[in-house]
């Protein structure tokens, strides 16, 4: 739960009066252009940045306490280049002293279509798509109630994007985490978000259910976002 959050910047507010609600098993897609405040929002929710005003909490406790996980845009950068993927993936488990249930790693690997032997390679030795799925595995392994995805598909090609999005969706159904997906791609947001929040210059321009939003965005800005998504082939208008 994010309510009335404001983050001051040097010249202008980086976030202003932002309120969002997240719940288990549901996906909130935050859409915005560069500089809209998407990264600031993520840092604030993760507790890496203290809001100047407002509160951020998860079931009444600070979000930091439930150890939300993060999937970043650049898949390989999420992994220490000199360690095997497996070591990095197990970090949350080791750090939080969790005992994994029998076969959880195998199940998640299967769900992400990651052959287990890939985990013993280093990040430089796997494809970008595999590295990103390993990043998602790392986020899922400790079963956090909240996972933040920061442009999770931007580094992937169009076909891999759709495939990976589907895998995330299926795993969310199984695991029941709340997802906050930050993306510049309205098509992805509309296809997989339950709710869509459009961020512009640090403020929420519009927030609506995905199906309503896709057909009938209210503000001019959101209309231009939708038209751009159509012009770039991210969304298509059925004949």
């Amino acid at each position: 739960m994010v309510s009335n959050v404001r983050v001051k910047g040097r010249n202008r507010d980086r976030l202003r009066d932002v309120s969002l609600a997240l719940s288990a098993g549901r996906t909130l897609a935050v859409v915005g252009e560069s500089g809209a405040g998407k990264s600031t929002l993520i840092a604030a929710i993760l507790g890496l940045l203290k809001p100047s005003e407002g509160t951020i909490s998860w079931n009444g406790a600070p979000t930091r306490a439930v150890r939300p996980a993060l999937v970043i845009q650049e898949p390989r950068a999420a992994f220490n280049p000199v360690l095997s993927l497996r070591r990095s993936i197990m970090e949350p488990v080791v750090a939080q002293g969790i005992v994994l249930t029998e076969g959880r790693l195998q199940r998640l690997c299967a769900g992400l279509e990651l052959p287990e032997e890939v985990l013993d390679r280093r990040p430089g030795e796997v494809s970008i798509g595999q590295a990103q799925r390993a990043g998602i595995l790392r986020a899922l392994i400790a079963a956090p109630p909240l996972i933040l995805f920061d442009e999770p598909l931007s580094a992937l090609d169009a076909v891999t994007q759709k495939h990976t999005a589907r895998l995330i969706f299926d795993l969310q159904k199984e695991e029941g985490f709340a997802a906050l997906i930050v993306t510049h791609d309205l098509g992805y947001a509309v296809a997989y978000g339950d709710q869509i929040a459009v961020l512009k210059a640090g403020r929420i321009e519009e927030i609506a259910d995905a199906d309503v939003f896709a057909i009938n965005p209210r503000s001019d800005y959101c209309c231009s976002l939708r038209d751009a998504a159509i012009a770039l082939g991210s969304l298509e208008v059925a004949a």
Partner: protein
């Protein structure tokens, strides 16, 4: 004139990354070169540009990010002069006002360096530079991926409109069939260094033959809106 290139190939580190490929580009042609990453589409783009230049055709290449085309230490005016000289014009001879107006960058300050312009304007400036000598062909390599969607869409729109009444053909290289389908009338599908399928855009969208064309076509967009 119709541009023809035959037997284009490329080898890197002893591995063939582009098998012998021939292609033909008609005047005013709009061609999309699509394929997943590593399929050899960018390589084909580079080899094609070199080959056509060697034949004496005028070809311009617009890279993915304007940062690759613009020296951060030089002013935009400098880049413009260089581009004019490169196509054999006397500095100041090109129709700068017309190109800038067509691509909506007439408000940009040429005395500034690239970083004084927004990314979208930089990319359109690079396109304007590419169009200076009215080339036979302009090759765009993922021209939109470094831009925000609204800016990217506007850029494609302006470029497309500008090319409408010109002889210049266009090749759009991208991993995204959905993007290509919006702006080209012919598609060429690359897979593992080979040109595996080509045809009219609508045909490939509706009846893809090869495995890679089927995958690209099936995943060309996120959603079809019911309106």
């Amino acid at each position: 004139m119709t541009l023809k290139a035959t037997g284009l190939s490329a080898v890197r580190l002893g591995r063939t990354i582009l098998h012998p490929t021939s292609l033909e580009i008609e005047p005013r042609g709009r061609i999309g070169l699509v394929g997943v990453s590593g399929s050899g589409k960018s390589t084909l783009g580079h080899v094609l540009v070199d080959d056509l230049k060697a034949q004496g055709a005028s070809v311009a290449h617009v890279p993915q990010s304007p940062a690759e085309a613009l020296d951060p230490l030089r002013s935009m005016a400098f880049h413009w002069r260089e581009a004019e000289v490169a196509v054999g014009l006397v500095p100041g001879a090109a129709d700068q006002a017309g190109l800038f107006q067509a691509l909506r960058i007439e408000g940009g300050d040429l005395r500034k360096r690239p970083w004084g312009w927004s990314r979208g304007m930089q990319q359109r400036f690079v396109m304007a530079m590419a169009l200076i000598g009215s080339p036979d062909l302009i090759v765009l390599d993922e021209p939109t991926s470094a831009l925000d969607p609204v800016v990217a869409a506007a850029t494609m729109e302006l470029l497309s409109t500008f090319l409408d009444d010109k002889e210049t053909s266009m090749i759009l290289i991208t991993h995204d069939l959905g993007l290509a389908a919006r702006w080209v009338d012919r598609l060429m599908v690359m897979d593992a260094g080979r040109l595996v399928e080509q045809g009219r855009t609508a045909d490939i969208l509706e009846r893809p033959q090869t495995r890679s064309a089927k995958a690209l076509s099936a995943h060309r967009n996120w959603l079809a809106l019911p309106c």
